[in-house]
């Protein structure tokens, strides 16, 4: 069963990536909001194994960066100051899963900070911001997809199973939602909200918006599956034996939608991550200084950043495995569904 194995691999990849984000405090070397005002727009430090004298070191090290003469933002390596990479170091406070306080970090450097992905306009560590930013973006994606799929399931099942005017009403509503220019609606919505939205409120708002606008597509898919499932012989037979609507839905019809729903969820998560990024990019997401992937990329709106600091693009590249993981999973699930259908 190569399909099943492939699914496991994709799942493993995703679990790994999510653990990285879930335990952001441990994997990120620094506090994502801490500014280092002497080091704005620091390029990523390169890790070396061979020192100035040509000696090899098993422990990688970076050289501290210094400003080039008469420059604000051009740095060069200071070959006299090596920063060996240390593992399991003590640093900024954080809490494991928001509960257990700790100061242990996977890696770091003594005396000076080490920037593996460079720093932003305020000298904040991009790597730490990326890892922490994933919390907002990934979980907005996951929760948003969950809400959407659940809503889609309820609406789709109701429309498909009961049919008639209920079907018409719900499906027209779905079409309406598909056609809404929701980005503009969101701008309008934001204008009515209180001035200062706390990061948590902003996060919940994003989820609510993502869920509210996304349910129409899964609802239509579910409706299709339910329509065909309810006409199956064994369903008719069960009904003939006096099974109630609730029983039929629970026992026979909804299980038939599971693979469609899983595939949908796997496709929706990366879509919603992107949606969160769009919102934050446009300033409608979680407010600074809380990092999110959209916030990380929003500085690229400025031309000067776009042409001067290439490492500001790096977060976009590192997001790829996350998307790849979900889309890979979705495609495997899709294949399995097809195979299942053919098998029937």
């Amino acid at each position: 069963m190569t399909g099943r194995r492939a699914i496991s691999w994709w799942l493993l990849l995703l679990v790994g990536l999510h653990a990285l984000v879930l335990f952001a405090g441990f994997f990120a070397p620094y506090d994502p909001t801490e500014q280092d005002r002497r080091s704005p727009y620091l390029p990523p430090m390169r890790l070396h194994f061979v020192d100035n004298q040509g000696h090899f070191h098993a422990r990688p090290f970076a050289f501290a960066l210094k400003l080039r003469e008469a420059s604000f933002d051009q740095y060069e390596e200071d070959r006299t100051r090596a920063l060996p990479l240390k593992f399991m170091v003590r640093g900024a406070n954080y809490r494991w899963l928001g509960l257990l306080p700790s100061r242990l970090h996977l890696f770091g450097a003594e005396s000076e900070k080490i920037y593996l992905l460079g720093s932003d306009a305020y000298g904040r560590d991009q790597l730490s911001r990326f890892v922490y930013g994933g919390r907002v973006s990934l979980f907005a994606g996951l929760l948003g997809a969950g809400v959407t799929v659940l809503l889609g399931l309820c609406v789709g099942a109701a429309a498909g199973y009961y049919g008639g005017w209920r079907d018409d009403l719900l499906m027209r509503l779905a079409e309406l939602f598909l056609a809404l220019p929701w980005l503009y609606l969101l701008f309008a919505l934001r204008a009515f909200l209180p001035l200062a939205v706390s990061p948590l409120e902003a996060f919940l708002l994003i989820i609510a918006v993502l869920g509210a606008v996304g349910w129409a597509r899964p609802a239509r898919l579910v409706r299709g599956v339910v329509l065909s499932a309810k006409e199956r012989d064994f369903v008719r037979a069960a009904r003939g034996f006096g099974a109630t609507d609730g029983y039929l839905l629970r026992r026979h019809i909804l299980p038939a939608t599971s693979s469609v729903l899983l595939t949908q969820a796997a496709i929706l998560v990366p879509q919603f991550i992107l949606a969160e990024m769009t919102l934050s990019f446009l300033g409608l997401g979680v407010p600074e200084p809380v990092p999110s992937w959209g916030n990380l990329l929003s500085s690229l709106q400025q031309y000067s950043v776009l042409v001067s600091y290439w490492w500001m693009y790096l977060p976009a590249l590192i997001m790829l495995p996350f998307f790849l993981g979900y889309l890979g999973l979705a495609s495997e699930l899709q294949e399995r569904t097809e195979a299942y259908k053919i098998g029937n």
Binding site: Q35, R37, A121, L195, A196, Q302, Y303, S304, V307, S308
Partner: protein, 599 residues
């Protein structure tokens, strides 16, 4: 400019400079420039002799709303009007001193109440009609007419009484002031002299405010500036052509301006302006942000980048100190208890890292500020104003004295609470289109976190920000900037005076809310009418010191004026006063004609 330094509440909104409108029929655009006639009293400008011809292309951040100086309130309109109109006495933007313009001379009476101005002889509007004292009388009559609603009308009122004027002959006008005015002849800068022959009839019909749309046929509009209207393409560009009757010449006697055409392109974003400049579509650029300036400086091109030094823009943070009304929300009333506490504001000021703002926001191309007068305005700066370095200890001490204390918040960080145990949390609004100010806000947010304050930065679209600050007053704190249009303090008078519309922390008060605001009002009103510079300076210094003492505005930093021009542009001498690069537009020229011809 930053998206520019965009959203500065330009002083011009309140005191627009002047200009004129003129419309004209007649004289189908003289094909052959008029011969210099011996009776013309032209102004000879010193400076590098340039080549005639060519067109200069400039980007504007928005389409001007009007060409009519009587109603213009937005910066793009002023930028265009300044090149089409002229005033009686002009402030040289480079020297910051007054120079003769349409008036070749002026005299103040010993009591300071009467100014006698003598017009140059033989001057003509851009449509060929000649100028005389009646045009000047008409102009000021219209500006003073309440029904016209000229935004700069207030500048002609002294304690509510208007100035009056009469002519003694066709070239001489006498201005009578109700009170002596410390600004002296600088007050004549910016009042565009209007063509009576075109505007008198519409004025009498009450239609003058409707004139001057960009689509006006070129022969129905005239002025005394170096350029006149040629073509307008909505949404794209405004083309001006050389005014053949312009009244200035270079030292060799050739009539200015050198350029045949001046083209304004409408390019809304600062980044897009940079790209246009880089690709050679525009010839000069100003109002650049430091980051874009260094991008342009770093990438070699056929242009020169110039840092003209500290300008007159001041950026500041202020708290909502408006009197609470029944509409004010309870949270704001509660927070205002902190904001009204002088020590609280002082602590905030002490905690702000101004050096970091200059370094991170302006890449070092700017100056930290402790008062409203920027280092670019040397004459009016108060040398006695303290420039304390950032001190968190002092800030913490001040908060303690004011009854604040600290607790440990749920996330383990220390949180500031007031004497009633309420955590100090507030929001700070800033304009979403101004990246510089958004950055300042982010730095301040972090600075105040060190004091245990939780600040939310809220970027708002500029109009809704202004609406909150001046109308609804629903905000806690705000980061804003203002660009003074002149070095003289009177251009900022509405910021200083408690009755002023841009007295931002508590605008348009019927009576000064505090004793120190009353004292500032008194000082500023008094300096307005003081006779000598020294007297005015003493009064103005005291006002600056009071502002520092009570810190209703916490000053942050002032950026340098950053500009650039193609190497082929001659006489490019940017000034730190608006309009930074076009102030000497009549002298700008293109050195290399071959290049132009191919464009």
């Amino acid at each position: 400019m930053k998206p520019a330094r965009g959203n500065c509440l330009s002083r011009r909104i309140l005191f627009p400079l002047l200009s004129v409108l003129a419309a004209s029929f007649a004289l189908p655009t003289a094909a052959s420039p008029p011969q210099k006639d011996s009776k013309e009293e032209l102004l000879v400008l010193p400076g590098e002799i340039g080549h005639s011809g060519g067109r200069l292309v400039v980007a504007l951040r928005a389409e001007p709303k009007t060409l009519n100086p009587l109603i213009a309130a937005d910066a793009p309109s002023h930028e265009v009007i300044d090149t089409m109109q002229a005033d009686l006495v002009h402030i040289n933007r480079a020297t910051q001193l007054t120079e003769p313009a349409l008036a070749k001379s002026w005299k103040m009476s010993p009591d300071g109440l009467r100014y006698t101005l003598v017009l140059r002889r033989g001057l003509k509007f851009s449509d060929g009609y000649s100028l005389d004292a009646d045009d000047v009388l008409f102009t000021f009559h219209v500006y003073l007419d309440e029904k016209v609603h000229a935004p700069q009308r207030d500048l002609l009122l002294f304690d509510g009484k208007p100035i009056s004027l009469r002519k003694t002959d066709s070239q001489t006008i006498v201005f009578q002031l109700p009170k002596p005015y410390g600004v002296a002849e600088r007050m004549f800068d910016g009042w565009a002299i209007l063509p009576r022959h075109l505007l008198e009839k519409p004025y009498e019909e009450g239609k003058i405010a409707q004139l001057g749309a960009l689509g006006t046929p070129p022969n129905e509009w005239a002025g005394l500036g170096p350029f006149r209207l040629k073509e307008y393409v909505a949404g794209q560009r405004l083309v001006l052509e050389r005014n053949p009757y312009y009244w200035k010449t270079d030292e060799k006697g050739s009539r200015l301006p050198y350029l045949d055409e001046l083209v304004f392109l409408f390019v809304p974003s600062a980044d897009a302006q940079v790209l246009r400049f880089q690709s050679g579509e525009t010839d000069v650029i100003s109002r650049l942000g430091a980051e874009n300036f260094s991008v342009l400086s770093r990438q070699p091109g056929d242009y020169t980048m110039l840092d003209a030094g500290p300008g007159l823009e001041y950026n500041f943070l202020f708290f909502n100190l408006n009197d609470a009304t029944e509409k004010t929300s309870a949270e704001i009333v509660q927070r205002q208890k902190w904001f009204r506490e002088g020590k609280f504001r002082e602590a905030v000021s002490a905690a702000i890292d101004r050096e970091a703002i200059v370094r991170l926001v302006y890449q070092g191309r700017g100056a930290p500020l402790w008062g409203l007068v920027t280092p670019g305005n040397r004459r009016w700066q108060d040398e006695k104003l303290p420039h304390p370095a950032r001190s968190l200890d002092r800030a913490l001490g001040l908060l303690k004295e004011a009854g604040f204390s600290w607790t440990t918040a749920s996330n383990g960080e220390s949180a500031l609470v007031d004497s009633g145990g309420k955590p100090v949390e507030f929001s700070m609004i800033t304009s979403s289109s101004n990246a510089d100010r958004a950055k300042m806000a982010a730095l301040i947010q972090d600075d105040l976190k060190q004091l245990g304050m939780r600040v939310q930065v809220v970027p708002l679209e500029f109009r809704s920000l202004l609406d909150r600050v001046t109308q609804t007053k629903e905000y806690d704190a705000c980061v804003l900037g203002i660009v003074s249009t002149d070095a003289d303090p009177n251009v900022d008078i509405n910021v200083w005076l408690s009755r002023g519309g841009t007295h931002l922390w508590n605008p348009s008060q019927a009576h000064p809310a505090t004793s120190w605001e009353a004292e500032i009002d008194r000082l500023i009103d008094e300096q307005k009418y003081a006779r000598t510079f020294e007297q005015r300076k003493t009064l103005y210094d005291r006002a600056q010191e009071l502002l520092w003492e009570y810190q209703p505005m916490i000053f942050l930093a002032s950026p340098d004026i950053l500009t650039g021009a193609k190497k082929s542009v001659g006489n490019f001498r940017p000034a730190v006063l608006e309009p930074y690069v076009l102030w000497n537009v009549e002298q700008l020229n293109l050195k290399n004609k071959a290049v132009n011809a191919t464009r």
